[in-house]
């Protein structure tokens, strides 16, 4: 494998007209790492991927592979594998020829092309379909061809652009495991773009959260899940309750906040002082029913298998989301509480 030890993005910026699609991304990718670029649509994550692949020229900044500058090379010279959202399989070539394409472009000996193609086909378990055209395959099979086509070259970096977004929920889970398994077996350095936080958390070693072309936070799944750096990351990480509040008092590591018809205690993220406008972030799982908590009125109850998702309204009319074990009826008055360590208080 023509690997690298370190791939360094240095202030990578890409403008479309006057708009910054990506405003200065700096990131060091170490060999063997699985990095997820995460963010809502339009956040610049696909732009970042295309810049890495060489499909989009940079407006500013540079990309370095160990000591060598990479951003001036055309895509065909970078030796990265890419899996496209639409798979982009060559419709006129059979599965086998699709997978062999990259090897043939490298002018490898015929025997080696054949051997490695067959290996890749069996890696993604498509032996029976090797002679078919992409149009004759199901979505999941096409996805596997796209992955095999990208990894057969043993590229120094695999780029994946929302590869699972066109699959149905069940297949998405299967392919997710598949991608993680491939990464474990082959140890290929991977950059994976997604808007699905669950996908990113479960696959990646490190996550890069982007918003409006800017990096919001870089960290391990645990970092992001437990300690989101700001309310935007929190929003993306499943802190569905983001309540505008005011700081009442600060007692060491705990702050008392009130507003939205609630009074809560929480853990500050960043500097807050009494009187500040803040946003309190609480996951629905961390907001518990019962106790001498805050009274709210149940509005909507959704059955979700092991538990119920409840939307309720505080006396001042702000919606809160929580999980409940027993089914409350719409209109019921219930009380909710949350542990202070589970309430994150972000500066607004």
């Amino acid at each position: 494998m023509t690997g690298f030890d370190e791939l360094r993005l240095d202030g990578v910026r890409r403008r479309f007209g006057a708009r910054d699609a990506l405003a200065g991304l700096s990131l060091t990718i170490r060999r063997g790492e699985f990095i997820a670029l995460l963010g809502p649509s339009g956040c610049g994550k696909s732009t970042a991927l295309n810049c890495l692949a060489g499909l989009l020229p940079l407006s500013e900044g540079s990309i370095w592979q160990d000591g060598a500058r990479l951003d001036t090379l055309p895509p065909e010279k970078r030796g990265f594998g890419m899996v496209f959202q639409s798979y982009a399989l060559f419709p006129h070539l059979s599965v086998r020829k699709n997978i062999a394409f990259g090897l043939q472009m490298r002018r490898l000996p015929r025997d080696e092309v054949r051997r490695r193609t067959e290996e890749a086909i069996s890696l993604v378990r498509l032996e029976e379909h090797a002679k078919k055209l992409p149009g004759q395959l199901s979505g999941g099979q096409q996805q596997r061809v796209a992955i095999a086509r990208a990894v057969v070259l043993e590229p120094s970096l695999v780029l994946m652009d929302e590869p699972l977004s066109n699959l149905d929920a069940k297949l998405r889970l299967e392919m997710r495991t598949e991608i993680r398994r491939l990464h474990q077996t082959l140890g290929l350095t991977t950059v994976y773009v997604t808007h699905d936080q669950e996908e990113a958390l479960s696959l990646a070693d490190r996550l890069v959260v982007l918003r409006d072309g800017r990096v919001e936070q870089i960290g391990t799944p645990e970092d992001l899940h437990e300690r989101p750096a700001n309310r935007h990351v929190a929003d993306f990480m499943g802190y569905r309750n983001l309540l505008p509040m005011k700081v009442k008092a600060v007692h060491g590591p705990v702050v008392a906040v009130e507003g939205s018809g609630l009074t809560l205690e929480g853990t500050p993220v960043g500097q807050v002082s009494p009187g500040d406008d803040v946003v309190a972030g609480i996951r629905p799982e961390d907001l518990h029913q019962g106790g001498d908590g805050v009274p709210v009125t149940v509005e909507v109850v959704e059955y979700q298998g092991r538990e119920l998702a409840v939307e309720a309204r505080t006396p001042s009319g702000v919606a809160v989301h929580l999980r409940a074990a027993t089914r409350p009826a719409p209109g019921d008055q219930i009380t909710v509480t949350a542990a202070p360590s589970r309430v994150l208080v972000f500066p607004a």
């Binding site: 692949a53 499909l55 895509p75 065909e76 970078r78 639409s86 982009a88 394409f101 055209l133 149009g135």
Partner: protein
């Protein structure tokens, strides 16, 4: 009850009142196309003398008549090939979005609107013995006497290219924009250079479209008539088959022979088209992933 059920069953097979919408179109096709066409074919089998196939025998027995097939093919095949071949690189360059694309497309397509007569006049003025083209070359001492580019094979050939190119270009441009641009990008990430991407990905996906485009421009060129007369040498090197048919029907008033020549013309066209479409069926003709 049974009446409703019957109507329902018919509707299931596509028989319902909407079929009446076909009547005006069908009537026009029958009256203006099928009947005259059948009449012409019938006429070609009723010559004044020589039995059922007499008109055809007359045509093929006379080398002067028979050779019009070769003359017409000699003009229309190269013209159609050139039109397709020239359109591919231009359309390929223009497949993306860029400023001024609409203007450029308009300029390339304008010749369609001019009509053959205006094109012919332009050619005569520009490429003729006293035209700018020859005068410029003579003034530059590139040539000593005017190059003859009109009233011969080349005049008609240029005219066919000028009028046929826009069709070929527009068709190929739309075929190209039907090919998903991500495919080429995927090929690039797999190590394929510009040339390989075109040869291995774009061209194979475009080939069926090229075959269709070729057929259309060929048929257009094969039925050349005005330019063959105006900028050609209608008595000699550009005596194309349509001139032969016109001559037979409207100068000699031998309608059966004229019809027979027209039928021969159609058969030759069909043969070429059949060969090209036969080859096309060997290619991949499925989805090309684009917006169609």
């Amino acid at each position: 009850m049974t009446r409703v059920a019957l109507r329902h069953r018919l509707a299931e097979r596509g028989v319902d009142r909407q079929l009446w919408l076909l009547v005006p179109g069908l009537a026009c096709v029958l009256a203006l196309f099928v009947y005259p066409f059948a009449y012409g074919i019938g006429l070609s089998f009723q010559p004044a003398e020589g039995g059922v196939l007499g008109a055809y025998r007359t045509f093929f027995a006379d080398a002067y008549q028979r050779d019009t097939i070769a003359t017409t093919l000699g003009l229309s095949l190269p013209a159609a090939i050139l039109n397709v071949a020239a359109s591919v690189p231009i359309a390929y360059r223009m497949r993306g979005r860029f400023r001024g694309k609409r203007l450029l497309t308009t300029i390339l397509v304008v010749p369609i609107t001019l009509g053959t007569v205006l094109t012919a006049e332009g050619l005569l003025n520009y490429l003729g013995p006293a035209g700018w083209f020859n005068r410029t070359l003579m003034a530059l001492h590139v040539i000593d006497e005017p190059v003859r580019l009109t009233n011969n094979y080349w005049g008609v050939f240029f005219s066919l290219v000028i009028t046929g190119f826009p069709f070929a270009f527009l068709l190929i441009l739309s075929y190209l924009s039907g090919i998903d641009p991500t495919l080429e990008r995927a090929a690039a990430t797999l190590g394929a250079g510009r040339r390989q991407r075109f040869q291995r990905i774009t061209l194979p996906l475009l080939a069926p479209g090229l075959a269709t485009t070729f057929c259309l421009t060929f048929v257009l060129a094969f039925s050349v008539f005005p330019s063959a007369v105006l900028v050609g040498d209608p008595a000699g090197t550009t005596r194309v088959i349509s001139i032969a048919a016109y001559h037979a029907a409207y100068e000699v008033y031998d309608y059966p022979l004229g019809s027979a020549i027209a039928v021969v013309m159609g058969v030759v066209e069909l043969l070429v088209v059949a060969v090209v479409l036969g080859l096309r069926s060997l290619l991949y003709t499925g989805s090309t992933g684009g917006k169609g």
